[in-house]
């Protein structure tokens, strides 16, 4: 298998990685960079546990993405959401609304929420539910997660939406 040298920006920090060309972004983040806040839930793009944000906007399943495809891109994981020791409003909303039970889907859910709100700051409930499809939660029945997205949408300002993107200027 061929290797390739790539540069990834994760949570505002640059990493140079020598990866096999078939290595997934999930493997590169979890196994090579030890960024274990990104979760392996199914490995086939069905659960959304490995969701990360690209360029502060697009949410992708890192298990279905090759690391080499992300050359030069800015990636945000849940570990990159806090600012100066403060929780991001999305994180706070997940706590306040009781949207967290076992917490295993939470990293993916928070990143998916950041993507939903980056594209549509004031989504309707239906738009939120449609947006969350692809991220599975087996604990909450989704209700409190939907509420958390609504709460985050209410309290977030434009600057916060940008901030969710990690490395954006």
């Amino acid at each position: 298998m061929k290797n390739r040298l790539i540069t990834l920006s994760v949570n505002g920090r640059n990493y140079r990685l020598n990866v096999e060309v078939n290595r997934t972004l999930l493997q590169a983040l979890r196994d090579d960079l030890k960024l274990v806040d990104v979760k392996y839930g199914c490995g086939s793009g069905e659960c959304g546990g490995c969701s990360v944000l690209v360029e502060g906007r697009e949410c992708i399943n890192s298990c279905l993405t090759l690391a080499v495809e992300m050359e030069g891109r800015n990636i945000t994981t849940i570990g990159g959401m806090m600012r100066k020791g403060e929780l991001h409003p999305i994180q706070q909303a997940f706590i306040d609304e009781g949207a967290i039970q076992c917490g295993f889907c939470t990293p993916g859910m928070v990143m998916k929420t950041a993507s939903i709100l980056a594209k549509n700051p004031c989504p309707s409930e239906d738009e939120i539910r449609r947006g969350l499809e692809g991220n599975i939660c087996r604990c909450t029945g989704y209700e409190n997660i939907v509420r958390a997205v609504q709460t985050a949408s209410r309290v977030m300002h434009e600057s916060d939406i940008q901030a969710a993107g990690g490395a954006r200027p």
């Binding site: 295993f104 539910r129 599975i136 604990c139």
Partner: protein, 805 residues
């Protein structure tokens, strides 16, 4: 009770911040120096076969492979991943219930797809997987049985010589004559019935689908201790089971309970801990990590018991349920596991629900070549709910009785026999649940409106009630040990073995501790450490808040007793005249603090409002207990020596069963068979909600699993016994768009015998939405569905065969 500070408050989960920042450690995140990677090699191509030839030589040659392990390279001891043997006396488990150990770490007799045949230990996960593909296994296929009906046939291959006819379990004759329990003369009562409703139902094999795949690290270290990091729901039971399996004293097994990424019964007992630990034992000094793939969860771990459930009920014209006669024949799957537990317990929810004149329940199960059945949130209750609640509604329809009114008239009440016969209900607020739930969903109005409909979309509304338990006593052992250590600054460390599956048990245990000790939650640490903590049976049977909370309460009361005792000695005031208030032991006879002066309590003390000399701060008592100096000038010691530690080894005296009423409204498209659930109302008899938001979260989250069982979820196998639904695409759970609005109503009438009056909620959610949804569909179409899940195909076939009402 209005003065309570923490009980009844929806404080945020104590681990929420760690979880929302991605900093919690699930087992898969454990990374140790010199760590190796283990791969459990499974049989994927057969569900029943003999391994005739196993060649590991090519796998061993792969560079980076450290060791290959066949069945003979690890312990050949038999075990049972279930934990029933630790919950009942040996006489009962082994001899009466017939519990057996029938699993091996690596087998040469594959009994289900995914059975483990050997193991690989390598320097990386990728190398281990590469080597696994080089394992050469030849098989002699054996006949495949997918249902009890097939495996119970005469002449069928015998799974285990100890279980003739492949009958893994039936209710034991010695305990229950004719292998049935209940009361009264069912045949005589049935003969008096004006109406008999009888049908045979099928309940599906559904999966817990906890989001975290099973992962472990095990490490046989140089001190001779076996360490295991696992997200088990039952750390103490697994601790004990691993010690037994590897023939070590419990003190030489260090079981580390990591954050649990969902359980729902899927981690009740051992899962892949035996394989992981066996690999670690083979490479002493090297930790071994096993990260299982999602696919392995479907084929090699346990699910809810599927099977056939026959129920015949007789009624008088006035609705009197004269008799109920039930028989649940379930599929055990490939191994014994919970074979005695679920078929036994499923009937308890039936006998515990209504005041039948006579009732008879038979429960049994048979080996098949499906993945083993085991524990899943509700433990037999969702199965019974689907059957019992539909039969009741059919009777109500024929007798022209309102289903809500029938249930109010005939459900069991306080003092009636509980789910365990001979053990009466301590409280029951089901009438209030039914009344408030009916009002919230608009029962009467909608029931009348949906009686006459036309068009392609038909609406229906249904109700279902349930009873459950708070802990499994008196049937199973209930015991939790707790210690509360008071630090010298009066902060506290609670040591306990209770696990938190995400439901928030650690949060509510801390709330109970903070309330009882009268101190802030922020100054209490909850330590979950299996070396330090005493016994706890584990998170199952909706018991952790009830029994774990009871243990915390008792241990905190022990601390209070010690504090008051010491203050009494120092102050010269009898203990009866002292109480703890605002972190001081104070005399009850001194003026109480003025209303609304909580914030200024310390000031009041300083200002002598409550009298100097009649109080001692808890901090002072704790500090002096640790720093017990002797004055060199006069040789006098200050205060009373000894660090304060509270202790409780708690066996609850009851099981304070909760009740619940669920109402469901559905819309059925009669052209496509599609069911849309419009709304659920769940009214739950919680006794007292320690954390109302967490309670509601349990109901809503549980309803998601119930709706799946009722409408979409089922594990399918092909004729060879190979799993067809081993992914989240093929196994359909409700998504965010499918979930209806769920209204929760917490009915709070404190239970008289429970700690703080609380009753359980953990297993309530997945139970009665099953029956309520089925009844709503039946209400919409006039057709009762006997097979779950009620899929569009079944609906269209039924409409075609029976026509609409």
């Amino acid at each position: 009770m209005s003065e309570m500070t923490y009980i009844g408050k929806s404080v945020p989960k104590v681990d929420a911040r760690e979880k929302v920042t991605g900093q919690v450690i699930y087992a898969a995140e454990v990374h140790l120096p010199n760590m190796l990677y283990g791969k459990i090699v499974r049989c994927w191509e057969h569900s029943h076969a003999r391994v005739t030839h196993l060649d590991l030589s090519e796998a061993a040659k792969v560079p980076g492979v450290v060791k290959v392990l066949g069945p003979g390279d690890v312990t050949r001891k038999l075990y049972n991943t279930g934990v029933l043997d630790l919950m009942v006396p040996e006489d009962m488990g082994k001899h009466l219930l017939g519990d057996i150990e029938d699993q091996r770490i690596f087998t040469d007799h594959v009994r289900h797809q995914g059975d483990a045949i050997c193991g690989i230990i390598a320097e990386s996960e990728e190398i281990a997987e590469q080597a696994a593909r080089k394992v050469i296994a030849l098989y002699e296929p054996l006949p495949v049985y997918l249902t009890a009906a097939e495996s119970s046939q005469p002449g069928a291959f015998q799974f285990d010589e100890r279980k003739p006819g492949n009958m893994a379990f039936q209710l034991p004759e010695q305990m229950f004559p004719n292998n049935a329990y209940g009361w009264g003369d069912v045949d005589a009562e049935m003969a008096t019935a004006d109406l008999i409703i009888e049908d045979t139902f099928y309940v599906p094999k559904v999966k817990q689908c906890q989001l975290e795949p099973h992962a472990y690290v095990a490490f046989y270290d140089q001190s001779g201790r076996l360490n295991c990091w696992t997200s088990t729901q039952m750390p103490k039971c697994v601790h004990n089971k691993l010690a037994r399996l590897f023939e070590l004293p419990i003190s030489r097994v260090n079981l580390v309970s990591t954050t649990i990424g969902g359980g729902f019964g899927g981690r009740l007992g051992m899962v892949f801990e035996p394989e992981t630990c066996a690999m670690a034992m083979a490479v002493p000094g090297h930790p071994v990590k096993v990260q299982s793939a999602r696919e392995e969860d479907w084929v090699a771990s346990e699910s809810r018991h599927p099977g056939k459930y026959r129920l015949k009920m007789g009624f008088k014209n006035d609705g009197t349920p004269v008799a109920a006669d039930a028989h649940f024949t379930s599929d055990a799957g490939a191994y014994f596991s919970h074979s005695s537990g679920v078929p036994f317990t499923a009937g308890s929810w039936l006998t515990g629900m209504y005041k039948y004149n006579a009732v008879r329940y038979k429960g049994d199960c048979y080996y098949t070549n499906q993945a083993p059945s085991g524990a899943f949130r509700g433990y037999g209750n969702p199965q019974t709910n689907f059957v019992l609640e539909q039969i009741v509604d059919q009777a109500c329809l024929k007798l022209n009785i309102d289903p809500v009114e029938w249930r109010k008239r005939w459900h069991k009440q306080v003092g009636d026999d509980g789910w365990c016969i001979g053990f009466p209900y301590s409280s029951c607020s089901l009438d209030e649940c039914l009344d408030r739930g009916a009002e919230a969903i608009g029962w009467k109005e909608k029931r009348a409106r949906y009686a006459t409909q036309s068009g392609t979309k038909r609406r229906g509304i249904g109700v279902s009630v349930m009873n459950h338990t708070s802990g499994a006593m008196p049937m199973l052992l209930e015991h939790t040990t707790c210690t509360v250590k008071m630090n010298e600054d009066a902060s506290a460390v609670i040591t306990i073995a209770c696990s938190d599956l995400g439901q928030g048990s650690h949060t509510v245990l801390k709330q109970i501790a903070a309330e009882t000790l009268g101190m802030p939650m922020e100054e209490i640490h909850l330590l979950v450490n299996m070396d330090a903590a005493g016994f706890d049976i584990g998170s199952h049977a909706s018991r952790t808040t009830y029994v774990g909370g009871g243990a915390v309460l008792k241990a905190c009361e022990d601390v209070k007793r010690q504090l008051i005792g010491r203050a009494s000695t120092r102050l010269g005031i009898p203990v009866e005249e002292l109480e703890i208030r605002d972190r001081h032991v104070v005399s009850k006879n001194k003026p109480r603090r003025p209303e609304g002066a909580i914030e200024d309590a310390a000031d009041h003390l300083r200002n002598n409002v409550w009298g100097v000399g009649a109080s001692m701060s808890i901090k002072e008592i704790c500090n002096v207990g640790v720093y017990h100096f002797v004055n060199p000038m006069n040789g006098e010691a200050n205060g009373i020596p000894g660090q304060i530690q509270g202790y409780a080894s708690y066996f609850p005296s009851h099981n304070s069963p909760p009740f619940g009423a669920c109402f469901a409204e559905v819309e059925v498209d009669i052209e496509t068979g599609q069911v849309q659930v419009l709304e659920l109302v769940m009214a739950h008899d919680i006794g007292r909600a320690i954390n109302p938001k967490a309670v509601a979260g349990q109901l809503v989250g549980g309803s998601h699993q119930a709706l799946g069982m009722a409408l979409t979820e089922e594990i399918h196998y092909n004729a060879k016994g190979l799993c067809l639904t081993n992914s989240f695409t093929d196994y359909k759970m409700f998504g965010p768009l499918d979930m209806p609005k769920v209204t929760t109503i917490l009915v709070e009438n404190p239970d008289p015998v429970a700690p703080y009056g609380l009753k359980s909620v953990g297993e309530a959610g997945p139970v009665n939405p099953v029956g309520a949804t089925a009844n709503a569909i039946s209400n919409a179409l006039g057709i009762m569905f006997t097979e779950a899940p009620i899929t569009p195909e079944k609906i269209l076939l039924a409409i075609a065969a029976q026509g609409l009402a």
